[in-house]
């Protein structure tokens, strides 16, 4: 954990208290209606739209001085955007930050859910580019709102069915649509479908923020989250033929890395903290396993 001093001249966590309260009200509504997209008065943030402003506003609205914050992008703590968002919160809150999933009370993420299982009391904050799961099927917001109200999700099933007819399999691999609490169709944000099962009855609170699209939504702890599928084409997650080259994990999401100009490649955990932990615990892959400092 690293402790930092808060920045002078701005309110704690950048947003003023009225704005935070407005966002928290929207979040309460979101928690009360799992999977429902709640419009909120999204603000301009000092980071660009599309770079996590929704997640940042949600984090800013719920963070307290005692929180311990972890920020990841693509599963890694050290990608530039994660570094930038973490340093933003260090600057404007002074709260402790960590790379350890177990230590964190608040985890802001883009595109992944950590491999380390989450626990009660933890909050995951997802950065969401496009909150509407029906958007590619129906561009009109006025139309999709009534489709949700009527649970008119046939088009999504048809889309998945057409995938099977054309390709023999469902061709959606990330941002895979889920039904939350038996009602709302929801985009889990662009996490790989590998992470979808982690949403189901998670003990942690899952909050989703879309800044540019001005929506928040939520999956409260212990809520049913079902990935759409068919009886004869059940939902399945990605599997790799090889284990992680660094830590030997076979249960983690792996990134493919090209290691020379002949296109030679290796697979390593996308969750850097999980991979380091395993290496420190003595696990090795084919490429050794000195902890990545």
């Amino acid at each position: 954990m690293t402790q930092a001093e808060a920045h002078d001249g701005y309110n704690f966590a950048y947003l003023d208290e009225h704005t935070k309260r407005m966002i928290r009200r929207a979040l309460l509504k979101a928690v009360a209606i799992p999977g429902y997209q709640v419009p909120f008065g999204s603000r301009e943030m000092p980071l660009p739209y599309g770079w996590g402003t929704g997640g940042i506003q949600v984090t800013a609205a719920v963070i307290g001085r005692a929180d311990v914050l972890k920020v990841i992008d693509q599963g890694a703590d050290d990608t530039t955007n994660a570094v930038n968002i973490r340093s933003f919160f260090r600057k404007v809150t002074g709260v402790a930050t960590t790379e350890r999933t177990r230590e964190a009370t608040l985890i802001q993420t883009r595109h992944r859910i950590p491999e380390t299982p989450l626990s009660e009391g933890q909050i995951m904050v997802f950065q969401v580019p496009i909150p509407e799961p029906l958007r590619w099927l129906e561009p009109r917001e006025t139309e999709t709102r009534s489709m949700h109200a009527l649970r008119e999700y046939g088009v999504m099933h048809v889309k998945l069915y057409e995938d099977i007819v054309r390709h023999g399999r469902i061709a959606t691999t990330y941002d895979y649509p889920v039904i939350v609490n038996g009602h709302y169709l929801m985009r889990p944000s662009p996490i790989p479908k590998f992470d979808n099962p982690k949403l189901h009855r998670s003990p942690a609170l899952m909050l989703f923020g879309a800044g540019r699209e001005k929506r928040v939504y939520a999956v409260p702890p212990d809520t049913d989250v079902r990935s759409l599928d068919f009886d004869d084409h059940p939902f399945a997650i990605e599997r790799w033929d090889a284990p992680c080259a660094l830590c030997g994990a076979t249960d983690a999401y792996l990134d493919e890395i090209i290691i020379d100009d002949k296109g030679e490649r290796m697979y390593v955990c996308s969750d850097t903290e999980y991979c380091n932990d395993r290496q420190q615990a003595g696990h090795h892959g084919t490429q050794g396993g000195a902890p990545r400092a």
Partner: protein
């Protein structure tokens, strides 16, 4: 052996340093002052204030300097600052009829009360590069010395037409609620006209220009006249409860454009001219005119006109007008996407293997042509 990319923090710090140096350019050349930008790049300042939704010439000039002249980046800087500001109150509605005019033209009437006032405009300049400006300019004589006598205030052309009953009125209805504030509330659709105008006022000039242009080229059905374009200073007044009256707290420079389009009438509405309205901070004629075209295009439904063209589509127009949103989302493609890319790569490999297998079967039997 692969080593995960570490040191993002250091790389960011270096990059911040590099961009500061790139902005400054050759240190042997004197640095631009914010005041120079404010005075000598007034049209850039006006655009940044308009789309940044903040009337502050100094901060807009600072943003332009900090953004190295990238106006969309400057608008973003100003917006991010603006969002932290407290609201002190709402002004009394601005009265543009009492504008102290620096420029006012009407293309609908040859002459009119107050006259045609060209003022500062590039309209009738010949677009020849003025190489004299390349030399370090000597101080020219004070233009104020030959400024015209006294301020000009003249009624709006649209008020003259409305007097005759030939123009739709736009009086504020009794009990009309305060307009919603798009910087505080999310855009909800369908949107009322006040909300649409707010969205367009903040909207990207280039985007509105293209949409407005499309309505003139057949992707629209309106044929407007520029009833009036006026630019000048308007008093900003705040109603003080303790005093019981409004107090002038300052002035803002505004460009207002009213385009009028004839409407042949219907069973309920008499034949009359209808309005498209544009308003922008500072001297921003292109923006105000484009905005007025798009405003009118979005009203097509009200007058029973076709509504199936891009500029008539409220959701399409309003949802994509904001350049801070658009710029951020387009450029977010620079962020790492390798987790999702991996899933696509896997899928594509499988589909490709499948395709290769079935196509090899289909073409394998064929004899190559002799």
């Amino acid at each position: 052996m692969y080593v995960a990319v570490k040191g993002g923090e250091r790389a960011i710090a270096q990059s911040v340093d590099l961009v500061a140096r790139a902005r400054r350019g050759d240190p042997a050349v004197p640095e631009l002052s914010v005041e120079q930008i404010r005075q000598q790049m007034r049209l850039a300042v006006a655009r940044v204030m308009t789309e940044g939704s903040l009337y502050d010439e100094d901060l807009a000039a600072l943003a332009i300097k900090q953004a190295a002249g990238d106006l969309v980046e400057a608008i973003f800087l100003l917006r991010a600052y603006r969002t932290t500001l407290k609201r002190l109150g709402d002004s009394v509605p601005l009265d543009t009829a009492n504008m102290r005019l620096e420029r006012r033209i009407s293309s609908a009437f040859k002459d009119l009360p107050g006259g045609q006032v060209l003022g500062p405009t590039y309209d009738y300049t010949q677009r020849l590069l003025d190489f004299a400006l390349m030399a370090d300019a000597a101080v020219t004589e004070d233009p104020a010395a030959e400024a015209s006598a006294g301020p000009i205030v003249a009624p709006r052309v649209t008020d003259l037409l409305a007097g005759e009953g030939l123009l739709e009125t736009s009086a504020r209805a009794e009990g009309d609620p305060d307009p919603s504030d798009l910087t505080r509330e999310p855009l909800q659709l369908p949107a009322d006209r006040a909300t649409r105008l707010q969205n367009l006022a903040r909207g990207d000039e280039g985007y509105l220009l293209a949409l407005g242009y499309s309505t003139q080229r057949g992707y629209g059905t309106t044929h407007p006249f520029a009833a009036e374009i006026r630019f000048g200073a308007v008093a900003l007044e705040l109603f003080i409860d303790e005093l019981g009256f409004a107090v002038k707290i300052g002035e803002v420079d505004l460009t207002e454009c009213q385009l009028i389009t004839d409407f042949e009438g219907s069973a309920e509405a008499a034949p009359q001219f209808t309005r498209g309205y544009g308003l922008a901070f500072g001297h921003s004629e292109r923006k105000a005119m484009a905005m007025a075209l798009v405003d009118r295009a979005l009203r097509a439904g009200e007058f029973g006109e076709d509504t199936d063209l891009p500029a008539n589509n409220e959701e399409f127009v309003l949802a994509h007008s904001d350049n801070v949103e658009a710029s951020g989302f387009v450029q977010h493609l620079k962020l790492p996407h390798y987790v999702d890319f991996q899933t696509n790569l896997e899928l594509l490999r499988r589909l490709r293997a499948q395709w290769d297998a079935s196509n090899a079967g289909a073409t394998g039997d064929e004899e190559p042509a002799a």
